[in-house]
Symmetry: C2
Subunit: 461 residues, 2 copies
């Protein structure tokens, strides 16, 4: 049995490792474009900011460690075409030599490609920071060019914000630019406001609703970032405007691309072409609250999907008659967390615009509470927003922005969203209380009570 895995990060290596362990006679071949396997993409801003020594700290397992585990790993190698009928994948190595790798099963786990806006000078003068080697390159540029004082970061999503913070920590003057009227589009504008103010307090110049038009290099090392409202001088421009799922090669081989622009897969991570599985940032998944197919690029999903794919591949090649692995990926609820400046920012489920897009009838509540009991020396703050469905009271989503006890609390709401818990039930859960961690009614239960009241549901505690 021969498995070819395209992409050597979370999804691909989780699957490859599972197959090697479960089927010791399997021939597992991994091709990876870059120079690293299995690393933490989420750690890159901390590498750039200097909180982490070097890129190797972010690597969970090296190519050699995977080789020792029994697989073949080709680094610097890209998959350029799939012949699904012949079951071969054409790969191109670092020397631009091409060859065909035959497979019984192919896992496409090539991730996503950072978007470079098709604007004058963007590709030439803008740095993308998506992979670990790109993070390392940015850090190298900063280390090598002490003349860099001003940086423009284009894109105020998670990565843009985290990079902007890291650059301020390096004593740089940072402008964060986004065409959207708010930072962090996964939050509602009222919640994103709190984040914007924290960025500004931290010293980041935030420019919203401003459209990038070009990046010029008028003289020497200085760039000029031109927008519809003006121009910013900077020695460095970072582009963080999102990433597009890598689907072209499997799509050309007949794999269906879904509404989200990512590959369609079933709950065993099978694409629509027999013999080809896909997992990670390049696939779409069912959003369990809205029912929509979404592409959410996170390591948490990539790891789970890689494992599900690995289990299914073993089942399929082991016994083509039974053909299905025991594990099924159920979908996602849009949980995410980040730390920006002093704020913990977390969200799950749907925000208001998503709930509206899903055609759901809902009510939202928003309030501010303390992160610890109000009588403690430093009570801190937590801004809370929650949505529930009219009629049923099902929790649709939660957004938390605060100075403490926020991050893992979102997992409580995420569980509620995923199991379909109602706000009426949520009020009565036995949640923890102690003064250093909140109030006797947990903020999520306060929100549940408010929502039950707003929606005229019963009971309301």
């Amino acid at each position: 049995v021969r498995l070819v895995v395209v992409g050597g990060d979370a999804a691909g290596m989780t699957a490859a490792s599972h197959v090697v362990r479960a089927q010791t006679d399997a021939d597992v071949v991994v091709v990876e474009r870059g120079p690293y396997t299995s690393y933490s993409m989420c750690g890159i801003p901390y590498l750039v900011g200097g909180e982490i020594d070097g890129p190797e700290r972010l690597v969970v397992r090296t190519p050699d460690e995977f080789r020792e585990a029994g697989m073949t790993v080709h680094m610097g190698t890209e998959a350029v075409a799939i012949d699904a009928a012949a079951r071969t994948v054409r790969v191109r190595d670092a020397q631009h030599r091409e060859r065909d790798e035959p497979y019984d099963a192919l896992l496409w786990a090539a991730g996503a490609h950072p978007v470079v806006p098709p604007l004058p000078g963007a590709a030439e003068h803008g740095l993308v920071v998506h992979t670990l080697d790109e993070g390392e390159r940015l850090r190298g540029v900063l280390d090598a060019r002490p003349g860099i004082r001003h940086v423009v970061v284009v894109g105020a999503g998670y990565i843009g914000m985290e990079l902007a913070e890291a650059l301020v920590r390096r004593q740089l003057d940072v402008t964060l630019l986004d065409m959207a009227p708010q930072v962090m589009g996964s939050l509602d504008p009222d919640m994103a406001d709190h984040v914007q103010r924290a960025l500004e307090r931290f010293g980041i110049r935030v420019r919203l609703g401003e459209v990038l038009l070009a990046i010029r290099e008028p003289a020497g090392q200085c760039r000029e970032v031109v927008t519809d409202r003006g121009a910013y001088r900077a020695e460095l421009v970072v582009l963080a405007v999102g990433a597009r799922p890598s689907v072209d090669v499997p799509a050309a081989a007949g794999c269906e691309v879904g509404v989200s622009g990512a590959l369609r897969v079933d709950d065993r991570m099978r694409t629509t072409v027999p013999g080809i599985w896909a997992a990670g940032d390049c696939v779409e998944a069912r959003h369990l609250v809205s029912g929509a197919e979404v592409n959410i690029q996170l390591g948490t999903h990539a790891n789970k999907q890689g494992k599900v794919a690995g289990i299914d591949i073993v089942a399929a090649v082991d016994d083509p008659a039974s053909r299905r692995g025991d594990a099924a990926f159920p979908g996602v609820v849009g949980t995410a967390v980040t730390k920006v400046c002093e704020l913990e920012i977390a969200r799950t489920g749907l925000n208001e615009s998503q709930a509206q897009a899903a055609g759901l009838e809902y009510r939202a509540v928003r309030f501010t509470s303390t992160a610890r009991s109000g009588y403690m020396a430093d009570p801190g703050r937590v801004h809370v927003k929650m949505l529930a469905e009219a009629g049923t009271g099902r929790l649709l989503g939660a957004q938390l922005v605060g100075t403490g006890n926020v991050a893992k609390r979102i997992d409580v709401a995420a569980t509620w969203c995923q199991v379909g818990l109602t706000v009426q039930q949520a009020q009565l859960l036995d949640l923890a209380y102690s003064p250093p961690f909140g109030s006797v009614w947990d903020v999520l239960q306060v929100g549940a009570r408010k929502l039950a009241r707003e929606l005229r549901l019963s009971p309301v505690l």
Copy 2:
């Protein structure tokens, strides 16, 4: 309609406030033994330690505020007998005058009484710290007697540990004594070990498996705490050996006392005697994991139960035919959290001895992980223990002890316990990840995977 509430803290005042709001013509009479209403018992150790200025900081609402809301509040007044047939409760005021208060509905929310061991000198020389005035008294003694250097705290549960820490913060030499072989009996011994070591690192002398025999006062202000293994000199002795539910008066009126020693109530907080409700520390509740009736004295339950009782009382007096309020208290899962020294300590569900007592077949896993991603500057530590049921994979309990991101994470496991989630399902939940808050597989999901593997369940991610 006349409601008499015995006990002016969380359960009683929540119910009284609900009835006053819902039935503006109701005559609501509260009798409270002490000098305070509605205060945070959990804040008392912080008052003793000096982190909080004065007792009034812990008071949520004063008697006068409740009076302004429309109720009658008798402070310094104790309920001494109930005549359930005549529907009167005999009360004794601060001047020891007795009178009968008639009621249509009576809510018994008298809480619990701290246990004073029936040992020589215990009542005379030991201070209990259960109510806010007792906390204030302890603080007053410490402020007034700078000669106090050595303190013995008897009882190494939450309150004993929190008080011991507070006393060390006041530069005192503290010995913490318990007859049990471990601190904090709600944890398994292997998890309690981590807590004990943190107490010791903080400078607390922990003496376990040692039985208090007497407290003597050989000379002047110095006490001698005599145990089966030796004697400790101390200028102050604090007793924190638990509290017994206050049930004698309603029990004498015919209210049934359950196996836990607390009052039996139905899910509307009705005792077995018509016209008498009970809520808070004096009642027992169904443990939703074990099915046993338990008495867990926590403000979280008292608040919910008070509200449920208030809703039911309004329904019952409003319309004796329908007679049931909309809200039902479902039970508890034993969730609790505390902060002791540098550790966050949290637990939910059953520990091993509780699972064994419940006759459940289970497996337990225990491991140590980091509180943040391992590559971060200060990754911290989280010790995790989780139990799941054989066959079904239902999560039975979780214990977390660590230096960060522990406290509200227990609410995730609490929700899993309360809704009956299995470890197979838990692996696939969409939980949050970012390097400052953990690893890509949340520790609770790591535990779920280990348990699924141990129990030979499928799938195992």
